[in-house]
Amino acid sequence: MSRARLSPALVVGAAISVVFVASALLSLVWTPYDVAAFDIGHRLEGPTAAHWLGRDHFGRDVASMILLGAGNALAVSLVAVLLGAGLGVPLGLLAAARRGLIDELVMRASDVAFAFPALILAILLTAVLGPGAINAVVAIGIFNVPVFARLTRGAALSLWTRDYVLAARMTGKGAARISLEHILPGLASVLIVQATLQFSLGVIAEAGLSYVGLGAQPPAASWGKMLADAQTLVSVAPLQAIFPGLAIVVTVLGLNLLGDGLRDRFDPRLDEER
């Protein structure tokens, strides 16, 4: 496959992801309407020229809410991924560099973490910490840690057998320095792909937690909470349940396409290395 040609999946995925990030950033400074102002008299109105996606059960502009929801989804998933990678990658590097007992400990601990029903544990965690966006980040981020740890360890193990790493060892560099200078750069592509995928999982997880009321708290907007609010109105105003759901699907789809596209693009080189 030609490296120069971009696959359509990558283009579409990247485009959606850019729109998602841009709307999230935009919502920080501007939304079409002020969502702090309730207008009960006009609640649940359908789409009009002024309100493209209609108004919600408090008479707020749905389009504005969805923009703000993008901001929330971006913030929560991004921090959760950073948290997961920030803890998981060093653990994986350490396990690969030291092998032996530490490796075994890290792997067994990640086994235990994988064995837990994630959603139930996330709910338990928010029961301990209280609901809120920050605690949702922690609950989601914790489950990213073993993912990154395993991935890093696996890929790092194979890199440790590479000639240039052996050469670095000959020069007397320590394990930590080799991990940082030679192993980590080699993992960049794998980690970027995984981060994109974990990011999209984070968006779904955040929606799920907010849907059961444990994510962002009002008046902050969240797609999951919008869905929960809309669900009681399914019989009265079905459109209310459509738009936030579509926002989630399109965003997750975009991020997945981006991740897969990146993987395909990086893949040939990975194959050579294996």
Binding site: F38, P117, I120, G130, G208, P218, L227, T232, V234
Partner: protein, 849 residues
């Protein structure tokens, strides 16, 4: 392939074990939906309103009752005399009353019941109020005399509440799970998480009830409630949770919508103790900032009557104080400035779960913001609310409905959560207690309302409406009740000849399934030991056990730090600290953590997961009931995902690079991106509410027959399966593409097989390994991952069970279920490892990854 065969076998076993038992009868059974399930069925311990709603007046009766106007009427006592000094009450008891188990009712029973309620170990919520009774004297079998410590004009009301019902010494110990009283219905079954069924008591002392059977179902979700009543799956909602869809139900001629008053006042509770809120000017500013009409419109869709004090409008002594603080933002700001907050102030608003509170809270916060009061909303579960707001007074503002009738006495308790203290108010309460005639009482009650309003103790929002939705044929159904009760003695259906659904009975479904699985597991282990050798098995087992041990420590640790006291949750709003302490002792919550951990661990080794705090039933038995729903659901979803996903993946692989492949793979990308709970909502919209093909939720039980049960699981399993099917399609495709590239596939073509034949005979079996891995990873996810799906479809499965247990702080259940799910994951991983070896003989040398 073997997996498929196993599943087929299981389904067949289920089908045989659970032959349909449908019977038809005229419509003399009623299904009522309640929002909350009672934690237990004993109204004399604990304060759960749903307990009273199910059992009070139906199973249990007291000496007296309240009529629709709130007046005291005779029940098990035919008449009574009060001594002139108000210190002695003599009750004359009804003749010929028997408990449902045949035990007789006499003066001795009254003495037993009341002394039991006020005993030191009693967890009765009205213990304090009933403790005014100094002595219960049996005059003769038909006469009983109560000696009071002091005058108490409220005693007769207290005796009319569910806390004061008559119980028999013979059955008193088991009331929580097997209630026995003197009422017109007897307890039949309780399928936890789903329904309680009562049947007519033919030996009732009065005219027997007209309904043969009454089923209480528990549906809290507003969307599910709409679907259930709209499709007549339930006949009545006494407290319909979705005012937003009431207008649609009104338009349905087969339903009757009744909006009635309740004794519930919804208040914006203000913590009178802390900083700025201790200043009456700030509290008055809050009153001016609130716009009740908008709150009622926005949160309750117009249902609800504004109130100006803590008193229900339908009461004769009601004084309209809603005009005292008109909505006036400028006035609010002025008052704040006067109190020293010209730039406004910041407060937290902690909201309990019900929709009325959450929605009112969002609107109130927006209104307060207009006046410069910045409000930070925190949504809490009930257990957290009880702990933080009610227990530790760690809040500024909250919104909650106070549903107890005539509960203005809470303003006389300085340690009550909103912390109001006023000597003037206390004086009024003292005068009220001494009041003898109604006229005098009315005057003082008016002063009480005015005092509370003048001091702006709380933001008084609206009277909680009782939104009843009923089958239009239902008659003589008592709606406007002053107590928390649903009295069904006179209820009946006007029409006739309508066939009934099957009668629900607790059945052996879960047990049979469990037996089959245990047997299969045992046989499997023997086969493995024979094939792979005991050493390998022991090694794997050691890893499994270590993982489980580590997991158990983590779970136990997390459970320990969860805030919220289970005992406080169970006892509710009016519990005394002593009652909570004695309950904690009973529940085994005292003692060092290590000791409790070891006890739990040892118990689990015996298959004993402990006893549920709320249900007072062994956790293992409850789990077995729920597995009977969750396991078939997970299996069904897994089968569906393979049946849908694998052929699609194979198709894409066969047409690799062509249009069909691109389209199919694009669709699977969308499939993976759909959150399953959203998909579930869409399915309900289309198939239940739109097309009405299947019910929107609930589970009739396997006893109802295979077809209704599978029908109930159809949408949930489809919702669970759809994203999984997309994953399976992708895995199948890539696995097939890999195998298609192998040399032996070319050989297969060379020997004359068509591309299709080669694919099916040689390609697919080799693609099984990644497929098995994915299936194995999916299964535990499906088992637990149904949490949200089970909520959307109100299925009484494991996920919903554990979610409910978390919110009710039934921590022993949470521990047990999470541990079980972890075990499922570990065991499945083990089975996958085995399957690798079985499916791929090449792995037999290395055995492992």
């Amino acid at each position: 392939m073997r997996l498929r065969a196993l599943l087929g076998g299981l389904a067949a076993a289920l089908a045989m074990a659970l032959a349909p038992a449908v019977q038809a009868a005229p419509k003399d059974s009623l299904t009522i939906a309640l929002q909350l399930e009672p934690p237990n069925l004993d109204p004399t311990s604990g304060a759960a309103a749903p307990t009273d709603e199910v059992v009070y007046g139906n199973i249990f009766e007291g000496l007296v009752r309240l009529d629709a106007q709130g007046a005291v009427k005779p029940l098990l006592a035919t008449w009574w005399e009060v001594s002139p000094d108000g210190l002695t009450y003599t009750f004359h008891l009804r003749d010929g009353v028997r408990f449902q188990d045949g035990a007789a009712f006499d003066a001795g029973t009254v003495k037993f019941s009341l002394e039991r309620a006020i005993a030191p170990a009693s967890a009765n919520v009205q213990k304090q109020a009933l403790s005014v009774i100094r002595r219960v004297e049996v005059v003769d079998p038909r006469t009983v005399r109560l000696h009071l410590a002091q005058r108490d004009s409220d005693l007769l009301y207290v005796l009319a509440w569910g806390d004061s019902v008559m119980v028999s010494p013979r059955s008193a110990a088991g009331l929580a799970t097997a209630p026995v009283g003197t009422g017109p219905f007897r307890f039949a079954t309780w399928r936890r998480g789903d329904a309680v069924t009562l049947t007519r008591n033919d030996g009732y002392w009065d005219q027997p009830a007209r309904l043969r059977q009454v089923t209480f179902r528990f549906i809290a979700d507003p969307a599910a409630a709409f679907a259930a009543i709209k499709t007549h799956e339930v006949d009545a909602f006494t407290d319909y949770p979705a005012p937003e869809s009431l207008a649609q139900l009104r338009a349905d001629p087969s339903l009757k919508v009744i909006t009635a008053s309740s004794e519930g006042e919804v208040i914006l509770a203000i913590n009178n103790r802390t900083g700025p809120l201790a200043d009456v000017r700030v509290r008055r500013a809050i009153q001016h900032a609130l716009d009740r009409r908008t709150i009622i419109d926005g949160a309750m869709y117009g249902y609800g009557v504004p109130i100006g004090s803590h008193f229900p409008p339908q009461n004769a002594a009601y004084v309209d104080l809603t005009g005292l603080y008109p909505h006036d933002v400028a006035k609010a700001k002025a008052l704040l400035a006067e109190a020293g907050y010209p730039n406004g102030l910041s407060l937290t608003l902690k909201l309990p779960p019900p929709n009325y509170a959450r929605r009112s809270g969002e609107i109130a916060a927006a209104q307060l913001a207009q006046a410069g009061i910045r409000v930070k909303i925190e949504n809490l579960e009930w257990a957290q609310w009880l702990d933080q707001v009610y227990g530790r007074h760690a809040f500024d503002l909250s919104i909650v409905a106070h549903t107890e009738p005539m509960d203005y006495g809470i303003y006389d308790k300085a340690d009550y959560y909103f912390g109001y203290h006023s000597d003037a108010f206390h004086g009024l309460m003292e005068t009220l207690k001494g009041a003898t005639d109604e006229g005098q009482r009315t005057v003082i009650l008016g002063q009480i309302q005015r005092r509370i309003a003048d001091d702006a103790v709380n933001g008084f929002l609206f009277q909680f409406p009782r939104l009843g939705v009923f089958d239009a044929r239902l008659k003589d159904f008592w709606v406007n009740s002053p107590t928390q009760a649903i009295d069904l003695r006179a209820a009946s259906f006007g029409g006739q000849g309508v066939a009934d659904g099957p009668v629900a009975k607790a059945g052996p479904g879960g047990a049979i399934l469990g037996g089959v699985l245990a047997l299969a597991a045992l046989l499997g282990l023997l086969a493995i030991a024979a094939r792979f050798g005991a050493t390998w098995l022991a090694g794997r087992a050691a890893v499994m056990i270590l993982t489980l041990l580590a997991a158990s420590i983590v779970i136990f640790g997390v459970i320990q730090v969860i805030p919220g006291d289970p005992a406080a949750y169970m006892l509710g709003l009016n519990a005394s600290p002593e009652a909570a302490a004695s309950l904690r002792q009973q529940m085994g919550l005292e003692g060092p953590a290590t000791q409790r951990y070891l006890a739990w661990l040892l118990g689990m080794l015996h298959g004993d997961l402990g006893v549920s705090y709320t249900y007072q039933t062994p956790v293992a038995a409850l789990v077995a009931e729920r597995i009977g729903v969750s396991l078939p659901l997970a299996l069904l979803a897994m089968v569906l995902s393979v049946v849908i996903g694998a052929p699609i993946g194979a198709l894409a692989a066969a047409r690799r690079g062509k249009a069909a492949d691109t389209i199919v793979m694009g669709l699977t990308q969308v499939g993976v991106a759909i959150p399953n709970f959203w998909f579930a909502v869409l399915l309900v919209m289309v198939f239940s509410i739109g097309l009405r093909w299947v019910s929107a939720g609930g589970f009739p039980g396997w006893e109802a027959g295979l077809v209704p049960a599978l029908k109930a699981l159809a949408l949930p399993s489809l919702a669970l399966a759809a994203p999984q099917a997309a994953i399976i399609a992708r895995v199948t495709r890539s696995a097939l593409i890999d195998t298609l590239a192998e040399d032996w596939m070319r050989t297969a073509r060379a020997k004359g097989l068509t591309a299709g034949q080669a694919l099916w005979r040689h390609g697919l079996p080799n693609a099984l390994i990644p497929l098995l891995t994915i299936l194995g990873l999916q299964f535990p996810f499906l088992l637990a991952g149904g949490v949200i799906i089970e909520n959307v479809f109100f299925l009484p499965g494991l996920g919903r069970f554990v979610l409910q247990a978390i919110t009710q702080r039934d921590l022993i259940v949470v521990q047990g279920v999470v541990m079980l799910l972890v075990f499922a994951v570990v065991a499945t991983n083990f089975l996958i490892d085995l399957a690798y070896v079985v499916v791929d003989p090449r792995l037999r040398g290395s055995r492992g990854r």
